[in-house]
Amino acid sequence: MVQYLVRRLVIAVPMLLGAVSIVFFAMRILPGDPCVAMMGDQATTEALADCTRNLGLDRPLAVQYLDYLWRSVQFDFGTSLRQGYPVREYIARMFPHTLVLVVASAIVAALVGIPIGIVSALKRRSPMIDYPLRIFALLGLSMPVFWLGILLLIIFSLHLNLFPLIGGGDLDGVLGMIRSGEALSHPADFLAGVGDVLHHLTLPALALGFTLAATVSRLSRSAMLEVISQDYIRTARAKGQREWAVVYKHAFRNMMVPLLTIIGLFVAIALTGTVLTETVFTRPGLGKMLVDAIGARDYPLAQGAITVFTMIIITVNLVVDMLYAVVDPRITYK
């Protein structure tokens, strides 16, 4: 297993380098001069030359590439062209907003998707239970998160006036209170801040969570179907254990092992989902930052955001693979 872990770790490094290289070359080699894109066709030759020099685009491509790789490793993605301050700082400010959204959506997806998957598997091919639940999952898979988000906004924000239309709440303030220790000295203010953040988070988390729940329910159903056909489940039933005990003590716990492998896939889908969800709800975050950066032709910012997204996905996949090898010792690297 140690050999597997080491080889898996070794293979992640070139993958990470490759992915970061793809981002670099996509931004540099594809047609279109970033300076022309930023300044427009009317920009003077001097202004364009200035811009090219400032961005370091006048250097040989190989030098730019090595410089970019070296700086990426240190999370230094340069300076945002529009905002004027380091991309790293901008990403650090936006990351907690995206993290909160992903975690909240994961909770919604797990609370909705796993029970649906389990019930659907236990009542397999039941026209009254399994089929409606599978249709629900299929609808969830087919429903674009941005459309569901807009529908929730129309109903709960515009008509019922229950949730805010835009924004993400004062998460920076809440985090600041935690860091400074004010969360303990001013608990009422802190709780009000947390409440505000949750208030802003509810609809985006529901929108993203429900679309993710569809994937989770299908995968949980498959995992449960696999587990309940095992001999140890038959043994548990033969021992005379009650059905809930069989499901909870034996099936559910074993079902969670294969589910572990989908966490990587889940994070990839969730991060893609945040790009759309944050745009619909006009929430701050890495996804919205990426879309805004692309719209404003702020290449360092866009490059930084995409690189961070990719790094997160590769790292999560690596951690999941390693965890899986620990949980299931039969796994070997081949």
């Binding site: 793809i22 397999r124 087919s142 674009p144 129309i154 759309l276 997204f309 996949n317």
Partner: protein, 300 residues
């Protein structure tokens, strides 16, 4: 014995057969209904896209100054209402089907044509060829489909061809992986050994034996990827990176309608519904085909 012999058919015809045929009808209905519904929805979309000039009640770009942001049925000629320029929403949605279907089909064909030969080559050849193809595919797979398509479209600019290219490239590693895993199984079969023993070259074995045997699974997955491609196209257009207005695509209609959700929610509602139904149609067909063709995967 005669009584027993005589009784059995009676029992069968009177009690067992109707019940059994009722059950099998129910089973057949449950089995074939999803694919039937999916195929009908997908056909409706194809007809809508192909026949847009004939079916759409008016031009998608015609502006009616007297009917700006009118709701469904408020003006008789606009069944689904109008947008901020007074354009007929129904006509725009019908024309928008063209973009979705073109991108959906063409990008999957692109990914299939590029990814399947590479995947089969990797699976059959093995050694360094397999390693390099699979490492490249793994690298691309580190990017979710939308993110990779977004990177490419950002560099190339939003247009129909660029969207097809971007989504096609983003789907390619999925086809590579699937084709390779199928090829790995197929290459161990006796008929491959026989083909090789008969002097079949590697290319011939791949084209004449591996590919046809992998085809059904690849087609099933390709159907599911049409749904992914349609959703990705809509997402790119929604983010303003797809086909630019005034050419109607479901994503850009929805994106433009976002500014008017307070007064005129029908724009986003109907365009989003069109996206969902199109994605659902191909998901239904893909899921049902998989169930029918590969019983091991049934219901998974």
């Amino acid at each position: 014995m005669a009584i027993v012999r005589g009784a059995a058919p009676e029992l069968t015809t009177a009690a067992v057969l109707p019940d059994a045929s009722g059950q099998s009808r129910g089973r057949a209905w449950r089995r074939y209904a999803p694919i039937g519904i999916g195929v009908m929805m997908a056909l409706a979309m194809i007809v809508m896209a192909a026949g847009a000039p004939l079916i759409a009640p008016m031009s998608p770009s015609a502006q009616f100054a007297d009917a700006v942001l009118k709701g469904p049925g408020a003006v008789e000629r606009h069944a689904l209402g109008t947008d901020e320029f007074g354009r007929d929403l129904l006509s725009r949605i019908i024309w928008g089907a063209r973009v979705s279907l073109q991108v959906g089909l063409a990008s999957v064909i692109f990914g299939f044509a590029l990814g399947v030969p590479l995947g089969i080559l990797a699976g059959v050849r093995g050694d360094w060829v397999e390693t390099s193809i699979m490492r490249a595919a793994d690298m691309l797979m580190a990017f979710p489909t939308l993110l990779l398509a977004l990177i490419i479209v950002t560099g190339l600019g939003g247009s129909l061809a660029n969207e097809i290219l971007a989504i096609g490239v983003a789907l390619t590693p999925n086809f590579v992986r699937l084709a390779r895993s199928l090829a790995l199984t197929i290459r161990e079969q006796d008929y491959i050994l026989a083909a090789r023993a008969l002097g079949g070259g590697q290319l011939r074995v791949m084209a004449r034996h591996v590919f046809p045997n992998a085809l059904y699974a690849l087609v099933v997955v390709a159907t599911l990827y049409i749904a992914t491609a349609i959703r990705t196209e809509a997402s790119l257009s929604f983010l303003g990176l797809g086909i630019p207005p005034p050419t109607p695509s479901w994503g850009n209609i929805l994106s433009e309608g976002r500014q008017y959700i307070k007064c005129c929610p029908w724009i986003t509602t109907f365009s989003g519904l069109a996206i969902m139904l199109a994605v659902l149609a191909f998901n239904l067909v893909g899921d049902a085909l998989r169930d029918l063709l590969d019983p091991r995967l049934r219901g998974e």
